[in-house]
């Protein structure tokens, strides 16, 4: 890989050991991905923030590097393992909270904004078309590439942090125009509802490995994009898609080698495969990815004139930034369950609180069994809201 004089200096340790190590990491990963150089980025989204996922190893690492390094570009943080203010209400232990705060403090010290969300694009980290960024968090990566048309590879926690500190990322993969062209067409032959998008995403992710798909026959709204992309990244390795309303759009791209379609029968099978439980739910969790202001508004509208059903514990997961934008809706939802800011059902220690969870997110349905030891009822958002209210 070609390095500039300034980059060489960093690699030679002239700007301290931590910056040397972070530069070394970018160079190693750049070589592995075949990058010819590093390019400047306008923002970073850093994963590896929950104590549950990164454990003591992560805490020690972050504390060590926070001693002598700061981020040099706008940097936002993934959800952590608890609500930073109301963790006691969520049933988080003192021991967990102590370790979690050490992680948060290390990120704060480095200058990372404590957005604690997988939807940084709702709280001020919203890159524009064509901007190069280094984002971790697979659902945000897909959203950034596909909806915002910014450019990022799917980074890991350490590589996103290294990019935040150095302000650069290897110029490879989805940073290059030629890798952003679709290789496979996916025809959707039905009129989808909101809940279908998560199922599409899951089914498409499974089928296409890491190619960029062109999805035709849909014109998703932003929240539908969010659900689709999160599910796609959870079931497969894809980090980007294109979408068009008309099937004929396939002809615009001579890079497309294959066209597949998804029909109602496959949708039904996919839905069924995502559930591992049918009843005895003890936790109803919404907000994977974190709820938007629009979603908060529609959920609040549905619940407003109903009464809580106390049979279930329920969590509404969202960023603190979004919660602050819709205080009235937050108050309505609070009657029906817990407002879980900064965290979510997947990265919080849910395994200590519940055994069977209900969700409308295919991404959550993928991770709840492995990361939280849950059995899962996968259903529509309306059904979830009917469970927690009467």
């Amino acid at each position: 890989m070609h390095l500039t004089k300034d980059e060489e200096k960093i690699l030679n340790g002239e700007e301290g050991e931590t910056r040397r190590r972070m530069m070394e990491l970018l160079v190693v990963l750049g070589d592995l991905s075949g990058a010819e150089k590093l390019i400047p980025i306008s923002s970073a989204q850093i994963s590896g923030a929950s104590y549950k996922t990164i454990s003591e190893a992560g805490v020690e690492f972050l504390e060590e590097i926070s001693n002598d390094a700061k981020v040099t570009v706008k940097s936002t943080l993934n959800p952590v393992g608890m609500d930073l203010k109301d963790w006691k209400t969520l049933g988080i232990s003192e021991a967990f909270a102590t370790m979690q705060m050490r992680i948060v403090d290390a990120y704060r010290k480095m200058g990372v904004e404590l957005t604690c969300t997988c939807t940084p694009y709702f709280v001020g980290n919203r890159p524009g078309k064509g901007q190069h960024i280094a984002w971790a968090e697979s659902s945000a990566v897909v959203f950034a590439n596909s909806v915002l048309e910014a450019r990022t590879n799917k980074e890991g926690g350490p590589s996103a942090l290294a990019s935040a500190i150095i302000g650069k990322t290897p110029y490879s993969g989805l940073h290059l125009e030629e890798n952003r062209l679709p290789k496979v067409g996916v025809k959707i032959e039905m009129q989808p509802s909101f809940d279908d998008y998560s199922v599409f995403g899951y089914a498409i992710g499974k089928k296409i490995d890491q190619e960029v798909p062109l999805i035709t026959g849909v014109s998703p709204k932003e929240d539908e994009h969010k659900a689709l992309g999160a599910a796609m990244a959870a079931s497969g390795a894809a980090s980007m898609y294109l979408s068009r309303k008309n099937h004929s759009a396939c002809r615009e791209f001579d890079t497309i080698e294959e066209i597949i379609s998804i029909d109602r029968e496959e949708m039904r099978e996919t839905r069924e495969a995502l559930s591992t439980a049918t009843n005895n739910v003890d936790m109803v969790a919404l907000g994977c990815p974190h709820l938007s202001v629009r979603e908060m508004t529609s959920v609040a509208k549905f619940l407003k004139r109903r009464e809580p059903n106390r049979k279930y514990d329920s969590w509404f997961c969202l960023s603190r930034g979004v919660a602050e934008q819709c205080p009235r809706q937050v108050e309505i939802l609070r009657r029906f369950g817990k407002i879980a800011c900064d965290t979510c059902m997947v990265v919080a220690p849910l395994e200590k609180l519940s055994k069977i969870s209900a969700t409308d997110s295919a991404k959550a349905a993928v991770y709840l069994p492995t990361l939280c030891n849950q059995r899962v009822l996968y259903t529509t958002r309306k059904k979830l809201l009917e469970l927690i209210s009467k």
């Binding site: 190590r21 990491l25 190693v28 990963l29 592995l32 590896g48 454990s55 190893a57 020690e60």
Partner: protein, 273 residues
């Protein structure tokens, strides 16, 4: 024996190889405080890799694995170096964060448990001081779609009782082709007028004890010539390509034969078009 490889991180380490033929998932597959493999399916399960040169094809599993490698170092139970066939971002990241010297593009199947090795991540090579590379030929004889398998006698130095092609060392003063011709005559009494060279492929390597054979493979066709064995083999058999897998052969024999036949077809196609 020295292999050129690609270095990640820095440092020169001498030690003993611990070999996992299976990929390793550091999150869940490794105890980060004890430095042991805990993956149920691993052949090195329960063993500590502290201070060893840990060799495995590549990493698998969660990206949190990078932090686990860092924690191994902090807990002072980390491997002294890491060797991979194909480095992936998770293991490479962990090695950089932890400051563990690492090499990739290393032919893992040429290594054996307990090999003494020197890892040089700065210059990008792996040295196996006790292992010697020996150039050899292996000649596959074919007669009307059937392959000649020879059973190695109990008088030869290696792979006794295993089925093989005609094979032998290449001496300093001869080319691989010359060695092939000499071995054919010694081991089967075939002379140059009895066979034609049909294809050859680039060398492959095979590990045997403290040697690494650098094998030059050849395919020859014969018509009706008589086969006469010397002391190195005690039996021969004409078999179809499909039957080879049911014979206990020397390492990679079937693989070599398939490569030779494929190379022959490719060259014929080039002639046709």
């Amino acid at each position: 024996m020295r292999y050129q490889a690609r270095g990640i991180g820095h440092g020169i380490v001498e030690g003993e190889i611990m070999l996992s033929p299976m990929p390793i998932s550091f999150l869940g597959g490794v105890d980060p405080h004890l430095g042991k493999i805990i993956d149920e399916e691993s052949n090195i399960r329960g063993r500590s890799f502290f201070g060893k040169i840990l060799a495995f094809p590549h990493g698998k599993g969660s990206t949190v694995g990078s932090y686990v490698i860092y924690q191994l170092k902090k807990s002072n139970v980390a491997p002294a170096a890491i060797l991979n066939e194909k480095a992936d971002a998770v293991v490479a990241t962990g090695a950089v964060l932890a400051g563990i010297p690492m090499l990739h593009d290393v032919p893992i199947d040429m290594l054996a448990e307990g090999d003494r090795a020197i890892v040089n991540a700065d210059k990008g090579f792996l040295e196996l001081p006790e292992i010697v590379e020996k150039p050899v030929v292996t000649v596959i004889i074919r007669r009307r779609e059937r392959i000649l398998l020879l059973r190695r006698s109990d008088k030869v130095g290696s792979f006794q009782g295993r089925w093989a092609g005609v094979s032998g060392s290449i001496s300093d003063d001869e080319s691989p082709e010359e060695a092939a011709i000499r071995e054919l005559e010694e081991e089967t009494a075939l002379t140059t007028d009895a066979f034609t060279f049909s294809s050859h492929v680039p060398t492959i390597h095979a590990r045997a004890g403290q040697n690494i054979w650098k094998v030059h493979p050849f395919l020859v066709d014969i018509e009706d010539a008589e086969i006469s064995l010397d002391w190195e083999h005690d039996k021969y058999q004409w078999v179809t390509v499909e039957e080879i897998h049911s014979y206990r052969t020397v390492p990679r024999l079937e693989n070599v034969i398939n490569l030779l036949i494929k190379a022959e077809k490719a060259s014929q196609n080039r002639v046709c078009y």
